[in-house]
Amino acid sequence: MRKHIALGVAVVTSAALLAACSGGDPAPATTEGSSAGAGDGAGTELVVWSDAERAEAIKNAAADFEEDTGATVTVVQKNFEDLRADFLAQVPTGEGPDITVGAHDWLGEFVESGVVDTIDIGDRAGDFEQVTLDALTYDGQLYALPYAQESVALIQNVGLVGSEPPATWDEMIQMATDAGFAERPFVLYTNGAEGDMYTSYAFQTSFGAPVFVQDESGSYTSEVGLGGDAGLAYAQWIHANGSAGTGYFTDTVDYDIGNELFATGQSPFIVQGPWTIPTYQDAGIEVAVSPVPSAGGQTASPFVGVQGFYLSAQSSNALLANEFLVNYMATDEAQQALYDADPRIPALTSVAEQVSDDPVIAGFLASAQNGVPMPNIPEMGAVWEFWNPAQIALINGEDPTSVWTSMVTNIEGAIGG
C-alpha cells in the first residue's frame, strides 16, 4: 500500500511538474537591479534563437551590448532546421524570441504568417552586398539583417586538372577527359534518388530558364519561368547527360557519396557549397574554386542563400532588439566573429573582401556575385516537390518534353490552387 501511494505521489508530482512546463514559461526571469551596470537596463531581457555554430559569436557580440545597455541577452540554441517551424508556431502564442537566426527563403512564409517585423538599416545599406539585401526584401521592405551569404561553385581537383577554371561545360568535360576521367568527368549531386535542383540551378539559368520571372526591381513574381523553349532545352541537356546519353549524371549520388567521389580523386570536378571544402582538404586534395561554367551559353547564376537575423513582430523589446541588430551585429567585428565561428561569406562588403584573401572564399564570392537570390516567396515550397523528381526522371532517361511540360503544369496548378 505504502509503495503504491509513494508511486502514485511520484506520478502526480511529475504530472504536476509536466503540466507546469506545458503551462508556458515559468515566470520570466527577472534579474533584479544589478546596480553595478553602467546603464540600468536590468530587468529587460532579449531572447535570441540561434543554431549551435553561431551561438558563441552572438554571445560575444552581446557582451558589449549588455555592458552598454544593462540588458540581458539570452541566446537559446536550437537546431537550424527547427528554427523556422518553431518561430512560426511560437511567435503568435507570445512565447517566441525577440530575434532569431534564419535563412532568407523562409521570409515569404514569415510575412504571410505575420510573425516578422521590418527593420531599417538606413544609410548602412550601402555597406552590405546588394544580393543579401535583395534576398531579405519582400514587397519592397527589408525584414532581416543579413550576416552571411553562400552559394555553390565549381570545385576542381588541382592535382588532376590544374587550377585553370573552365569557362564552359564542354571545356570542363574536355579537361576531365584529357585527364583520364571520361567515365565520370563531373560529379552532379542529386541527393540520391530524390533529386536536387538547388545545386544544379546555375546550369539551368545558363539556358535562360529562371524558376520564377523577376520583375524590373529584381523581386520574384509568382509567374513560373521554367517553361518555354529555354526550359525544354535544359531538360534535354539533362536527358542527354543521363542514362539515355553520356551517363555523366546518375541518381545515385547522395551527399556523402558525392564528397567521397571527389575527395578520393575519382572525379576531378564537382559543384558544391563552401561547407564541403573541409572534407576535401582533410582528404589532402588541393582545390580551386570558380564560378559554375555555362552549359547553355548564358551566365550560369547559382542560387544565393542568405542568412540573417529576423525580428519578431510580437517582440515587446523591439527598441532594444533594433539597437542590438543595427548597432552591435552589423559591425565589422561581429560579422568577422560570425565568420570565424562558421566560415560563410560575410554579408558586409568590407568583411567579405577582407576574408577573400583566401582564394577558396574568393572563388565562392565570385560565384555568388554571379548569382541570384533563391526565391523567398512561399510558392517555392511547391516548386521543389515537382522540380526535384523531374530531374531524376530525366536522368533515368524519360522523355524530356513530357516530363518537363507536366512538371510545369503541376507547379502552376499547385501554386494557383
Partner: protein, 536 residues
Amino acid sequence: MSVGLQRVEPAPSPAPPESHARGWTAPGWGFVVKLLLMMVVNAAGVLAILSAWNAGAWVILGVLVALLVAADWVYFSRRALPLKYLFPGLVFLAAFQMFTLVYTGYVAFTNYGTGHLGSMQQAVDAALIQDEQRAEGSPTYPLAVLREGDTLGFAINDEGVVRVGTAEEPLEAVGGAVVDADGAVTQVPGWEVVPRAQLFSDAALQERVVALRVPVSDDATEGSIRTREGATGAVYTSTLEWDPAARTITDTETGAVYSPDDRGSFVSADGDRLAAGWYVNVGFENFARAFTDDRYAGPLLRVAAWTFAFAILTVLTSFGLGLLFALVYNDPRVRGRKVLRTIFILPYAFPAFMSALLWRGMLNAEFGVVNDWFFLGANISWLTDPWLAKLAILWVNLWLSYPYWFLVTTGALQGLPGDVMEAARVDGAGRWRQFRSITLPLLLVATAPLAIASFAFNFNNFTIIYMLTDGGPAFPGASVPLGATDILISAIYQISGVSGGRADYGLASALSIIVFVVIGIVSAVAFRRTRKLEEI
C-alpha cells in the same frame, strides 16, 4: 407477493485494518511519509499554478487547480480508496492522450497553417507593419525621446534645427535646444530628455516609444517620424488604417476597405486579400477536401492500397520468419541457443531510423554493397524502380521487425502445455500435423492481439518510409507530390505542406483523424475475429 422474502442485511463486516498511511497509532510513520509526499506534490502544484498565473494561461491554471484539489481530496479522504490507485493513471491519460486527441480534433476544424497562425489582432499588427514604409529619400535624423508628465515626444536634429513634436502636435522648430558634438539633442526647454539607459530598462516606456508616430506636418500624407532604436528617426508613411470599431482596414490611398471574411482574411470588395490572416473554424471543409479534391483522389487511393499491403505484408512476413526461427532455435538439440537468440534480436535493438539510413546506403544502385556483393555489381535500382522500391521497403522492415516476433513467439512456444503435445504424439500425429493443429492455434491465441497492434503500428510507420525512400519514386506526372512507396501518414506529411512550403495543419489533422478512424475500425474488426481463436 413477497411473502417469505425479506431482504437480508449482510452481517456487518469487521472494520478493515487501518492503513499505514492513515493511522496515527504506532508506528504512524506511514502517514508522515504520505504527508511529506503530498507536501511535495502541493508545493509543485502551487508553483505550477503561480507560473500559469504569471503566464496568463487561464485554462492551464484552471486545470491545475482542479487536479491539485482532486489529488488532495483523493489521498486524504477515507472514501476514495480505488481512486488512490487510479488517480495517477487518470492524470496521465488526460495529459498525454485526451489532450492530444482533443487538440488534434480542434485543429482539424480550423484553417490553422501558413498565413493563418495567430489572432485577428496579430494579423492587423502584421498588416500595419508590412504597410509602413520609409518615405523615399528620407534622411536619418539624430533623435531624442522627450517626456513631460505623461506625454512623450520626439526631438530631431534637422541639420542644425531642432524640431519637436508629439503624437498630436506636428514637428515644430524650437529655440534654445542644446545639441552635442555628435548631433544628438541633449536639452530641450520645457521637456525632459529621456536618457537612453532609462529607455532600455523600462519595457513599458520602450513599447510606447516604438509605437509613437510624430506627424511631420498637418498633412497626414507627408508621413510621420518614428524611431526603431531610440537614437535616430526617419520619416515613414503608411496607407492602411485600422478601425477597431468597424473591424475593417482602410487603404487611405485607394479607398479600398478590407473587411474580415469567414476564412480568416481581410478581403476588399475587389477580392484583394491582405497577406496575413488569422485562424478560424472552417467546419468539415478539411475532411471534405480529402475526398472531393480530384487532385488528391487518384493518388491517395493508390497510396491507401499500398499502405494496407505494406502493413499486412510486413506483419505476415515478419511473423512468419520470426516464428520459423523461434521453432528452430527452440529445439533443445541446438547448441548455444541463448547466445544465438541474443544475436537474433540485435536488429530490434538498433534505432530504426539508423538502420533505414544504413540500408539506404547499402541499396544504392551504383555504390551500394548489396549490388556489389550479391548481384555481380549490376546497377539494380532498388530505390528508384516503383516495384523494387516497394520490395526494398518490405525487406528492410522485415529485417527490422522479425526479431520482435522471434522474441514473442519464442516466449509463447515455451509457455505451451507439454502434455497436449505429448498426447498428440501418442495419438500418432506427425510433426506438421502437431504444428498445424496444436502449436499454431495455441500460439495465435497469445499473439493475434500483438499482430493487430503491429499492423496498426506499421500502418503509420513513418520512419522507415521517410528514411529509406522518402516516398519515392514519384508517381510520374502526378499532380500531387506523392510516390510509389508513400503510405498514408507520409502522404499527409507531403500534401499538407508540413514538410515545407505552405503548411496546412488543419488539413493534416483532419487526414490524421481519418487514418485514425480507419485503423480503429480495422483493429476493432480484427479483435472481434480473434475471439473466435480462443474458442478452440
